[in-house]
Symmetry: C2
Subunit: 336 residues, 2 copies
DNA sequence: CTGAAAGCGCTTACAG
DNA sequence: CTGAAAGCGCTTACAG
């Protein structure tokens, strides 16, 4: 890298000390107005650009937060990133973004990298498969606060921000029950993901509240592949009393389920109501879509998580504070 | 931030010099095997994590590349990010990602931040509105190589990697001509964007090659709002000889155009063939879609751009090398 | 094979 | 109001 202008260069030219130059540029009140003027003028003229990495090093603060997400293809994560960026920008913080691509060993490598780079804090969406969170505990050990978002960690003590999945699943299922459906199926995610369990619980509570007896045959667990969803739908449709409504874990499942029905049961397609999580913006272009969809405000999740993280960085919340923070952003049910 | 273990701590405990500890951990060949062993053992036991920011500072290299994109909502940009990440990861480089949100003054601020942080190189997708690229020239002035991707910069000398828009537009239009269409409209982007001009040129070349006389009335320029696309379609449909096919600048336009036809000219919907750029994965869920779509390989664009950037960082390509690099990744036409 | 020393560019308590 | 000095944690040419 070509050498940039340094404080020393300016000091030399101006015949003053490096300290004075530094203080002038930082608008230190101890420095006289004329001196500041002279310094700033030359700095401008010479295109001086402060070397942040020297500054960060000196201050032992990187003014950077680390952000780990499984992947950018998922637009929910992108919304969270935007929320975080919003807050971080206002705090003049940078973001190092890394994708785990749902790979736990990659995830661990990223965390190590974040520690080596001494990020001031970490916000993370775990991979689907993360069960060992020791690396993250190492973060806490070296004083880097960690906030988990969207996916709940399997360990004991943590700070977690997400949407209210229970509420969302409850609302989506109630909507179907209120439409008069009695046979409501649930296609949820793998039970290794805490969110799957929570959404299933919301579904169950809604049934209970609506006086509908739960039926294990109506509950399917899939791992989000088109193939598994088709399987699940097939076995649902073959039941003596097939469902007249399905609450799906998320959009992708609904879409695949509809594809399946179009192919195998085209006459039944319009007899089945779907609800789900996601409220894809692209719905408006679809001919067949869920009757209602839970809109999750991940932008707000990101903002809240970043806000909490900065409180911790500033030390308002001591990081040895072991009360776990658990924020749930409310969900809206969007009727289509 | 809590203090971490430093080289000095290790040196003290081991009764050796900081230099020796440093060299041991860096596997310097000058150090004896036993010493290395002792050092590594303690480092492990004490959970020593090298302070990269000190190292970067010392080496005046940040091992970080800056990446500026208008926004993460656009999945094309995300693909490019992934391609870049792929290469950067292999080089053990980090990425600072920032979004300009199509805001030129934000963009400028980001570049300044990147310079302050002494990134080793910069890859950028300009905002739609960027006309002044002086900040980027400042990067070059301080020795930070810049590579533009996807959107072509308006200045003179630059390195640019994108897809072959001319070829894509040509293929997409030829496909329509080969299907027998004579009245082929073109809905393109604002002519302030060089890509719009290029794609229009591809369309024109295809007409010429197919012996179809161009008709200015068939060419519409929109700024990507639903409203403008509806307007454009309206005026096309009102022509004495309305088009029987439309080549659209991108998916979003096709989708909006189809919405318009469904609403206003439902009977004509199936008489008009569309082609466009984008090949949205979601097409499979749509009932009406373009007959063919140009698939742009932005992952490859990202990889190539990152590859070139690292060559420049390593100095293989001197950055005062003023020959401009201009790479065009081929486009595939996907027939639906 | 090991160590003493300089220095990367900044900030900041302290002295004057 | 200004400056001399120490130090953040590393790497690396140099000496031994």
């Amino acid at each position: 890298m070509k050498k940039g202008v340094t404080l020393k260069d300016l000091a030399l030219k101006l015949n003053m000390s490096v300290s004075t130059v530094s203080k002038s540029l930082n608008n230190d009140q101890a420095i006289s107005a004329v001196t500041k003027e002279r310094v700033k003028e030359l700095a401008d003229r010479w295109n001086y650009v402060a070397n942040e990495s020297a500054r960060h090093f000196k201050l032992s603060r990187s003014f950077t937060i680390g952000l780990i997400i499984p992947g950018l293809q998922d637009h929910f994560f992108v919304e969270a990133v935007n929320g975080i960026e919003d807050i971080a920008g206002a705090e003049n913080y940078n973001i190092i973004l890394a994708q785990s691509h749902e790979n736990t060993s990659k995830e661990e490598g990223i965390v190590q990298m974040m520690i080596r780079n001494r990020v001031d804090g970490l916000i993370v969406v775990l991979t689907k498969y993360t069960t060992d969170t020791r690396v993250f505990e190492q973060c806490n050990a070296v004083g880097i606060p960690v906030i988990y978002i969207v996916r709940e960690p399997p360990n004991e003590c943590y700070h977690y921000v997400s949407v209210n999945n229970l509420e969302g699943a409850f609302k989506a299922t109630c909507y179907l029950a209120n439409k008069g459906h009695k046979r409501i199926a649930c296609i949820t995610g793998p039970k290794t993901m805490p969110i799957s369990v929570t959404r299933l619980e919301g579904y169950m509570q809604a049934l209970r509240k609506s006086g509908i007896p739960p039926d294990a045959a109506l509950i399917k667990e899939v791992n989000f592949t088109e193939r598994e969803t088709h399987h699940a739908m097939q076995s649902l449709m073959k039941l003596k009393q097939p469902p007249t409504a399905v609450f799906c874990f998320k959009n992708d499942i609904t879409l695949d389920a509809i594809v399946f029905l179009k192919k195998k049961y085209p006459d039944r397609l319009h007899t089945i109501d779907f609800t789900d999580f996601g409220n894809l913006p692209l719905f408006k272009y679809l001919d067949h879509k869920p009757v209602a969809s839970v809109k999750e405000d991940f932008f707000e999740v990101g903002k809240r998580a970043a806000g909490l993280l900065f409180e911790m960085i500033r030390g308002k919340k001591a990081d040895h504070d072991k009360r776990k923070i658990n924020v749930k952003i409310p969900c809206k049910l969007i009727i289509n």
